[in-house]
């Protein structure tokens, strides 16, 4: 619990730091804390080199199958099924994360090890919210505490058969203030993509140009809960499905916010859903503390817009920096 309060303060007082807990001044207690949280958070994961790998894996798989058939697992109020997410969904996305996009993560220690925090990221990808999925995998796989990112999605997601149920099971919920505040109050990591459909469906020529950040509803939720905001910048997601045009009439007929035309979609049918293998970088930025501002400011539009702009500027400038550093889209 203490660490959650310590981390944003560090972020506030110190000059910006990159990565690696070794550079932390308080290396010893922090290392202890992270070892502790590692063992506490993942009792299922076998210690390396204990039992022969495949046997343990088969035993784990059978135990998982037994739990699934008997319905013997817990689901939280939002419908989050940690058992399914850890054992099926994340392992399914892992090859995509490791091999296809070769995601490189920076600044994962800017994400607090416990307590609530709001992760705000740019949104892109054309067809489906792969950037959200990759960010969630990054948080769970790279963070020492193995935390789950609770994503906030549009109501269209939850009304779509299959997608909606899967989204809830993997920890997503509706992007509305009551849900966000409830999750943050429970000390969860909440991920939000404030650009929404304007971001994900924007044409390729506007890549890495942040769209409008809504009315700052996410800042309101963070202020009200007094949790830090962690700006997240994702590079690589814009190139997976370059949106060449938006078939507006078709979108209206199908009652969708946009209908993307990419070089492969919808021409190649389901094959068009295969993303191009761009190289991804995910940068977790310095947390912006909100606890000092007080809950009274949650309704103050001046504070809201200032903070919204600050988060937006941080993400945009990080994107620009990462783009300059990037040698190629594909490598």
């Amino acid at each position: 619990m203490d660490e959650a309060r310590v981390i944003p303060l560090h972020g506030d007082d110190q000059p910006p730091r990159r990565r690696g807990s070794g550079r932390r001044p308080a290396a010893v207690p922090n290392a202890e804390a992270s070892i502790h949280s590692l063992s506490a958070a993942e009792p299922v994961r076998p210690p390396a080199g204990d039992v022969p790998g495949w046997e343990r894996r088969v035993a784990d798989g059978l135990a998982f199958l037994r739990r699934r058939i008997a319905g013997d697992y817990a689901v939280d109020d939002f419908g989050f099924d940690a058992d399914l997410t850890e054992n099926v969904v994340i392992p399914l996305f892992k090859p995509l994360y490791d091999r296809w996009f070769r995601v490189e993560v920076n600044g994962i220690d800017n994400v607090p090890s416990d307590g609530g925090a709001l992760l705000v990221a740019n949104h892109a990808g054309g067809l489906w919210a792969l950037d959200a999925a990759m960010t969630a995998v990054a948080v769970h796989e790279e963070h020492p505490a193995g935390r789950h990112l609770r994503m906030l999605g549009a109501d269209l997601v939850f009304g779509t058969p299959g997608v909606g149920a899967l989204a809830r099971k993997t920890g997503a919920t509706l992007a509305c203030n009551p849900d966000a505040e409830r999750l943050l109050a429970a000390g969860e990591l909440v991920g939000v993509w404030p650009e929404g459909f304007k971001g994900i469906g924007k044409p390729y020529r506007d890549r890495y140009r942040l769209q409008r950040f809504g009315r700052g509803g996410f800042v309101h939720a963070a202020l009200k809960s007094g949790v830090p905001i962690v700006p997240v910048s994702v590079v690589g997601s814009e190139e997976i499905h370059p949106v060449l045009a938006n078939a507006k009439t078709l979108a209206r007929i199908l009652d969708l916010p946009y209908f993307p035309i990419t070089p492969t979609f919808p021409w190649l049918g389901p094959l068009g859903l295969v993303p191009l293998p761009s190289k991804w970088y995910i940068q977790f930025g310095e947390p912006i503390p909100t606890a000092g501002l007080g809950q009274d400011h949650a309704d103050d539009p001046v504070v809201l817009f200032e903070l919204t702009d600050r988060v937006r500027e941080t993400i945009q400038s990080t994107l620009n920096r990462l783009l300059v550093q990037r040698r190629s889209v594909w490598r």
Partner: protein, 353 residues
């Protein structure tokens, strides 16, 4: 202080259990139960000193009963009854509007005229929040149904609560408690949900897996009793802790799911309805898609009641009492057989390792 309690719907599960509890309470002078049908034989002995009045609450006679007996506490347990009707809480095979809304109006009118009534408890349902893709994951008491006009049973519930609020404005001196119940379940209660889960093949809509929040019958009665014996003004969500997914509940029941395309579920439901097992309506189809979860902080802190059963325990308590399937021996065997196979494999592996 003398205390006379009037309970509506005493021939049904909740009303009968509540009357039984209150009849055992020496602090209460008289317990009067009212219902349009006579109590079941099994209930008669358990009702103890409860006095029974056979009357429909839609009948103005109810005012006379209240005046003559000098009733001070009215528990409207018949409102939006849980034992007949829809899955998302409750409902009635007869037009719910007729029974619930007109009955509640008549009862409230009688209370309004009375000089003795000081406390009114109305059982409502969490169906008033509706369920849809655009709704927050967890409803608090201050939220309203959004985006979709309530229909059928939920509409009746919203109207009933509307009349109760009107009554509160006209008689601010009377303490009014509105209890919004989640789906009831338990070993003895018969509700649409218990009938639904008892089906050998449970029709669910493809691509959806609603979150179910349940309430054990014992907790349901206990909350009504608390509201009847002490002052608890306000609106309270009454539901157990935790959530089960429908798929999970079906697995635990050892049943099989029959996935049906969402638009067809009311059709399949219609076939099932004609067989007399369970009713489906458009509103239930939406409940079967999205489910509903409510916040119970106010019940714990304001009302001061901690449900004894969690959702998982309530489901388990129902499943323990569930008789095995008759007539279709092969079906539940599938799940149990697969489970046994996995367990024996795991056991063998454990010996090897």
């Amino acid at each position: 202080m003398s205390s006379v309690v009037l309970i509506t719907g005493v021939s049904r599960h909740l009303g009968a259990r509540l009357a039984e509890q209150l009849a055992d309470d020496p602090a209460i002078d008289r317990v009067i139960g009212i219902d349009a049908t006579a109590p079941r034989k099994a209930d008669l002995e358990r009702l103890g000193r409860t006095e029974f009045v056979r009357a429909d609450i839609r009948n103005p006679l109810i005012a006379k009963v209240i005046a003559q007996a000098q009733v001070d506490t009215v528990v409207h347990a018949a409102a939006l009854d849980a034992t007949t009707g829809s899955l998302g809480g409750v409902g009635a095979r007869v037009s719910p509007k007729d029974h619930d809304v007109v009955g509640t109006m008549q009862l409230l009118a009688a209370c309004q005229k009375s000089d003795t009534v000081s406390r009114v408890v109305v059982k409502s349902t969490t169906a008033v929040y509706g369920s849809g893709p655009g709704d927050p994951a967890v409803f608090t008491e201050d939220m309203h149904a959004t985006g979709h006009a309530p229909c059928g049973y939920a509409k009746g519930a919203v109207e009933v609560e509307g009349y109760v609020r009107g009554f509160m404005r006209r008689r601010p001196d009377i303490t009014v408690t509105i209890l919004r119940y989640a789906s009831l379940i338990g070993p003895t209660i018969e509700s649409p949900l218990t009938r639904y889960l008892a089906m050998p093949l449970v029709p669910t809509s493809i691509g959806f897996d609603p979150r179910l929040q349940l309430l054990h019958e014992a907790d349901a009665v206990e909350v009504l009793r608390h509201a009847a014996v002490a002052e608890h003004p306000g609106v309270f969500n009454v539901a157990a802790d935790g959530v089960v997914l429908l798929s999970q509940a079906v697995r635990r029941a050892g049943r099989l799911r029959l996935p049906v395309p969402a638009p067809a579920i009311s059709f399949v439901g219609g076939l099932v309805r004609n067989s007399g097992v369970v009713e489906f309506s458009a509103e239930q189809a939406s409940f079967l898609n999205y489910g509903r979860v409510v916040d119970t902080a106010r019940l714990r802190e304001g009302f001061g009641y901690l449900p004894r059963f969690s959702t998982q325990q309530a489901l388990a308590s129902y499943l323990d009492a569930l008789p095995g399937l008759r007539g279709l021996p092969g079906l539940p065997g599938l799940g149990a057989g697969a489970l046994r196979a996995v367990e024996s494999l795991a056991g063998r592996l454990a010996r090897v390792v």
